[in-house]
Symmetry: C2
Subunit: 379 residues, 2 copies
Amino acid sequence: MKKNYLLTPGPTPLPPEVCEALSRPIIHHRTPQFQNILKQAHEDLKYVFQTNSDVLILASSGTGAMEAAVSNLLSPGDSVITVEAGKFGERWTEICQAYAINCEVIKVEWGKAVNPKDIEAKLKAGKGKIKAVFTTLCETSTGVATDLKAIGEVVKASEAVLVVDAISGLGAIDLKVDEWSCDVVVSGSQKGLMLPPGLGFISLSPKAWKMAEASKCPKYYFDLKEAKKAYDKNDTPWTPAIGLIIALTEAVKLIKTDGLENVFSRHSKMADATRSAMKALGLALFAPDAYSDVVTAVKVPQGIDGEKLVKTMRDTYGVTIAGGQSEMKGRIFRIAHMGYITEFDIITGISCLEKVLAQMGYKFEMGSGVAAAQKVFQK
Amino acid sequence: MKKNYLLTPGPTPLPPEVCEALSRPIIHHRTPQFQNILKQAHEDLKYVFQTNSDVLILASSGTGAMEAAVSNLLSPGDSVITVEAGKFGERWTEICQAYAINCEVIKVEWGKAVNPKDIEAKLKAGKGKIKAVFTTLCETSTGVATDLKAIGEVVKASEAVLVVDAISGLGAIDLKVDEWSCDVVVSGSQKGLMLPPGLGFISLSPKAWKMAEASKCPKYYFDLKEAKKAYDKNDTPWTPAIGLIIALTEAVKLIKTDGLENVFSRHSKMADATRSAMKALGLALFAPDAYSDVVTAVKVPQGIDGEKLVKTMRDTYGVTIAGGQSEMKGRIFRIAHMGYITEFDIITGISCLEKVLAQMGYKFEMGSGVAAAQKVFQK
């Protein structure tokens, strides 16, 4: 009898209310019945995005929504700034380059956060020619959170729009989309929103919509002007992912019941407990200066096989955490505390980590990680 | 107590096995557990597509897979033939034009099928410059089936690839992808495959992959070379629609249990019964010369409000059929007999149609439609 526990930074576990909604008989999308649901979903997303702008729903994973941001805002030959502080920042550069956009790349060491001053300097050097600044709310590959409030201040003063990949983090940590002048915010369903993957979301500020008017990149499926036209009639240009949208309204009901502030403080406490546990176990955080409350990246201690650690936790004990990606493969592991996760799930994860670390010969006092986490939760 | 019956050409009803699979706890996609499921899904799709080529799975609805066909095969300035025999044929032209592809359009009167000889003539006139011929297996907007066997013969002899939108029809009516030389076949989850919308599928023949090598259209999310690289490792380049893929393996289990031949003959019988019922009711088929076994389009009789007919069936009695799209709005209605549908669902649909037609003052013998259908099922 193996029981599975999911502590990965997407997908995140599904609440039973979501599972139930997913299992319902399907309904047709061009009906008043579904239009009402879509209208609710639109309102729900505005709440989670903390925005007055419309949030468009795409039938795609988050990367599709990222591409929509690029192909709808820009034209070949345009210049932009991309912040690469990990695998997902690099994705912005890759997408832009696929559309022949010139990227001024700000390379940030993995595990560090971008300095808003570096963005300011590059914007100034661009002499008004930079059309967009591409950033990442929580860089999942490193666990680092970005100071979007400060970056918003910097970009607001320029001609450029601020584009945020908030796939990881939205609905888990604070992102005041309007207040912080985040012009374009992209997200996905399988993270803070506690849904299976398959929905992409994108919001555009008036400044961004104005830029979209001039865009010459080819697009069809991800044409946001078409999506907006349909949105205004509580419709979608193509067949939507009906089941996921119905489930979305159930997931946001849960978020609204708690209230965003409480959701954020729950995430913050779980992250704090996780970090305390790692410290108690003598493990080093990968991003001690810039950690997020979404996912905690931890250095694999010397002498321990990081890939085997993750594999054993998952395949022997049913606790799935994430390993490192790309250059960090085998060198870090990542425990997510995002979405439908409680303190007891965190205790479970740490307890399993201790069990496997002990088996692998790592020296520490058994139970010290769990106890440290418990103390945080007791506060 | 209202009970809902879905007789629309997508989405189609979900089998309980699919509903159950959708409600399971989510699993992570970068695990051997999911890789095994993806491997199964790949094999399943080859079976349903009747092809030895790989069938790539996209997290999008069918239109996304259509765009993938265009953006991966072609370059701006290329010339193609598009067959427009309805709303979905027109979509091929729209997508191609979004990518600056020159379209030689073959306009076919709604309700008729394209004559393969017209494609042959246009290919000859193109003097080897036509790169692709875009067609539609079942034009959902009119209920018309296309003779792809004959078209395959014609296109095979040319430099062009044959691209088929089989979103409606795949897994419901016969499409011998390899045998009929269909180079690129696109489909979606919410039709013959009995799943919610949210998955797109695309197969490419060796001839198509060769053409893809030269393609210069920009693409990222729908980059099929990236998808193929990941496919070979039972992986996906971006987060896949995990839940839908798991449910896909359950749906195809059902198809395999019956066997494709039996699935096709069931659809054929349901279509036959529906057509007989319409005739018995004195209603005229919209496509008497080219009907498909996927969806039956019927002319709204004089004096009857077609939109009200569909609305009353749905909102008063819970039986959802489809009205006409675009220029056929209010002028036809469409009863789908696709996917998880049995003879008793058809009887239900016809019975409800009779009920509402009678209420609206249409003159006919009550029960004659149902009886005609029963007789076909009794054969």
